[in-house]
């Protein structure tokens, strides 16, 4: 296919039709932007190019913000990793980040990362990027999987047709990545164009005449706008009167007899079909492997549930039994309880003459005996096992399949199964999961999921502590805790879905293939998360301990405990010591949960009290960091409303449960 013949014409630099344009010279851009569909390996490539690790996983939506790093192979050039975008116009908040970035006028080279197995849809996005007139390189990643699937790509022909450099890479192994730097340095601002139906071309010409100098090609910005991109609308409205834009759109759509977006999409799709027909060949590939069969089972309307139950049991066993039971027992009782803490207490008492300092370091509310012991003996083993298991699940590609299985459940909450992703990620860290709500399509969905995350999704450390305590009591205790928390989440979600205005959007999600996780990636990711967790947890645990120490030393703690007594002792039926736990639980609920763990270990909590305390603290807002993120993402008013609802609700549910359990004969 000659790019300049036929219904569709792509005039690339060097093509005779484009030769009249002034020839651009290759130059190094200040920044390289990685753009592409979700889950095609942009973040792995980012890591390869910069040496900087960002969390990568086998599900769409891992990256919800932009990340920057310095390119190792191109001096003075920054690399920007962006959230995945299905196509323009951008639909969700994370996709809008990409539109905004491309239109903001900085000098950039775009590296489009695509799935080598899906050249046709990659090319549709390529065309949109080409039209923006920025220097562009196309990287077809996962080329090993494409070869295994029987996809044969004629790279030279594809490059010729698109008028840009095309590279084949396997980002996870680094194959082909070395060629990117050279391709970026040689990349030219693209001059290629598809010929659209006449009304569209006339509209683009009119916009081009009216627009002044633009950082991206006026044609590309106009096409984005005609396609319905809100960021492009904002971009054009800064330079052109709104009436002109309205008039142009109305005329185009009247002459086309359909929306401009539909006409653009059809033209691009037909062009992509032609390109694929010329440059890609599909040969028979293997069918029906073990992973393929497991993938089918995991989304089956019947077998999907046993698979989920098996996964949950595996997580429970590794985190609750192995992590919170065996490892915590070993560290807390044997290492810290029998050796480290007695030795340190003895040494500090001997070396430090001041009782105040001794108490501050190794007393009841000592920085070491409480803060560091909680962080390292109780929380560290739990989060280590959880992050390990979670990393395996992430890289396997199972998590998006939960969206399919749980879709009906979320339907009742006015959401769709896509909400399962941030909810499950919340088990790792609610703060990060709150950011991930950006992958949801509407503000309403983001608000509902943020509320449910803040209300009832326990983070890994807390979950481990809960499973550790309740597992040692009885399976019934665990079931009561899970049942009550789930019931509260469902009831609040059901109610909120009816109160918050707006419509539910149906599920539409891409499912990545199930893959065997790469041990190196799992290990790196676990270590990174542990480092991040300890950096956040240790200072907060020490601050919380110091806060308690000050309250205790000044005599304020007994007064606060007395003040909270009607609520904690009278309403919840817990011992007075639990007041201090709830006090630090406001800071971080896993800190509070760790305190409850020790109270239980010291025999100060009965089985009934342990269940009530765990339910109450699970329904707390997770931590100060999550509140700050909620304020940033949803605004101060919504955050304040959530706080005002959640804390009283936690105590209300805890008290009701206490009285219900007493009535049922549990507390006798």
């Amino acid at each position: 296919m000659c790019p300049c013949k036929g219904r569709l014409t792509l005039m690339a630099v060097g093509c005779h039709a484009a030769s009249a344009l002034s020839e651009p010279t290759p130059g190094r851009s200040a920044e390289i932007v990685l753009v592409g569909h979700p889950n095609v390996g942009k973040s792995v490539l980012f890591g390869r190019l910069t040496g900087r690790y960002v969390t990568v996983a086998n599900y769409p939506g891992t990256t919800v913000d932009v990340f920057r790093g310095a390119a190792r192979a191109v001096d003075g050039t920054a690399v920007i990793d962006t959230p995945g975008i299905v196509s323009f116009p951008a639909r969700s908040e994370d996709e809008r980040v990409v539109s905004r970035l491309l239109l903001d006028g900085e000098e950039r080279t775009v590296v489009q990362v695509g799935d080598a197995k899906g050249v046709r849809r990659t090319v549709e996005l390529t065309v949109q990027l080409v039209e923006l007139g920025l220097p562009l390189v196309l990287v077809l990643n996962m080329s090993d999987e494409a070869v295994a699937a029987g996809v044969r790509i004629d790279r030279e022909r594809l490059s010729e047709l698109l008028g840009i450099s095309v590279l084949l890479t396997v980002a996870t192994s680094g194959a082909g990545v070395g060629e990117i730097a050279a391709a970026v340095s040689a990349a030219l601002p693209t001059r290629a164009r598809i010929v659209y139906p006449a009304p569209v071309e006339e509209a683009l010409a009119e916009l081009g005449r009216s627009l002044g100098e633009t950082p991206v090609a006026a044609r590309g910005a106009g096409l984005l706008w005609l396609g319905g991109d809100e960021e492009a609308q904002t971009f054009l409205e800064r330079q052109l009167p709104a009436e002109l834009l309205e008039r142009v759109r109305a005329r185009v759509e009247q002459e086309l007899g359909e929306t401009a977006a539909a006409a653009l999409q059809r033209t691009r799709s037909a062009y992509a079909d032609d390109v694929v027909a010329e440059a890609v060949r599909q040969e028979p590939g293997p069918t029906g492997g073990v992973l393929e069969r497991l993938a089918r089972l995991s989304t089956h309307h019947v077998w999907g549930w046993p698979v989920l139950a098996a996964v949950l049991y595996g997580v429970y066993w590794l985190v609750g039994v192995f992590g919170a039971g065996l490892l915590v027992g070993l560290l807390e009782n044997s290492v810290f309880g029998r050796h480290v803490n007695p030795w340190l207490t003895q040494e500090v008492t001997r070396a430090v003459p001041s009782d105040f300092i001794v108490d501050l370091l190794v007393g009841q509310y000592g920085l070491w005996t409480m803060g560091m012991t909680y962080a390292f003996a109780l929380i560290l083993p739990i989060v280590t096992t959880f992050f390990l298991v979670f990393s395996v699940l992430e890289d396997s590609g199972y998590l998006p399949r939960l969206a399919v299985v749980s879709n009906r459940l979320f339907h009742a909450l006015g959401l769709n199964g896509k909400a399962a992703l941030p909810m499950v990620l919340g088990l790792g860290c609610v703060t990060m999961a709150t950011l991930t709500t950006r992958i949801l399509e509407s503000r309403r969905e983001r608000l509902l999921v943020t509320l449910l995350l803040a209300l009832g999704i326990p983070c890994s450390a807390q979950l481990g502590v809960v499973l550790g305590i309740l597992g040692s009591i009885s399976p019934a205790a665990t079931l009561i805790w899970a049942g009550v928390v789930a019931a509260v989440v469902l009831a609040v979600g059901w109610l909120a879905a009816r109160v918050v205005p707006g419509e539910r959007s149906p599920l539409l999600i891409e499912l990545p293939p199930l893959r065997v996780p790469r041990p190196a990636n799992v290990l790196v990711k676990t270590l990174m998360r542990l480092e991040w967790y300890l950096r956040e947890v240790v200072p907060l645990f020490l601050a919380g301990t110091a806060f308690l120490f000050v309250l205790d030393t000044t005599g304020a703690l007994p007064a606060i405990v007395d003040g909270m007594s009607p609520l904690v002792v009278g309403w919840l039926g817990l011992p007075p010591a639990a007041s201090a736990v709830f006090l630090v639980g406001f800071l971080r609920r896993d800190f509070g949960a760790a305190g409850l763990f020790l109270l239980h270990a010291q025999g100060q909590l009965s089985a009934e009290q342990a269940v009530v305390a765990m339910v109450t603290i699970t329904l707390f807002i997770p931590c100060i960091a999550s509140i700050l993120i909620i304020v940033r993402e949803r605004g101060a008013a919504q955050a304040a409303a959530m706080i005002a609802t959640i804390f009283p609700l936690a105590f209300l549910v805890g008290g009701l449960l206490h009285h219900a359990l007493l009535a049922g004969g549990w507390g006798a």
Partner: protein, 158 residues
């Protein structure tokens, strides 16, 4: 008693004597000591009483629930076969996306679910999963009901 709608008025036919009457208009209940909150309709002709669906809370709730269910099941009318009717494991050719809401139509098109294209149907319940160009896409039944498909023999580009 059976019911019919005559000129916008619900008319009940007494099962015992065949008398036709409007249960709302009858004043026989006013003299009954159990009339308040009663869900029975008494025939003014013979006194035979039978449940009056319009007065029963249970029936009213059931009718409302059935109507809501019917509304939910009411999908855009796609002439011919829809993707929701496809057999898992089969290959089908997409015929039309006309009835898919614009927002989702754009997404489906971006993934390659476009008229004329052949997709592998992997699953229908609990949601539809299709494979197109080595990518698996899951979407809810209301969307698959709005996607028209052609008979497999008609074929199309893959």
């Amino acid at each position: 008693m059976s019911e019919a709608l005559v000129a916008g008025v619900e008319i009940t036919l007494c099962a015992l004597c065949g008398h036709r009457f409007d249960p709302q208009a009858t004043n026989i209940c006013a003299s009954c000591p159990l009339g308040k909150g009663c869900s029975l309709a008494c025939c003014p002709n013979c006194g035979y009483s039978a449940p009056d669906p319009s007065r029963s809370t249970v029936v009213r709730l059931a009718v409302r629930a059935a109507a809501a269910l019917a509304r939910r099941r009411r999908v855009p009318a796609v002439p011919g076969t829809t993707l929701a009717q496809a057999v898992p494991g089969s290959q089908v050719t997409i015929k039309t996306l006309e009835h898919v809401p614009v927002r989702h139509r754009e997404q489906l098109l971006a993934y390659g679910v476009a008229p004329g294209r052949v997709v592998d149907v992997l699953q229908i319940r609990p949601v539809t999963i299709v494979r197109v160009e080595h990518a698996e896409l899951a979407f809810e039944t209301p969307l698959s009901r709005a996607i028209g498909i052609a008979a497999p023999a008609e074929g199309g580009p893959r």
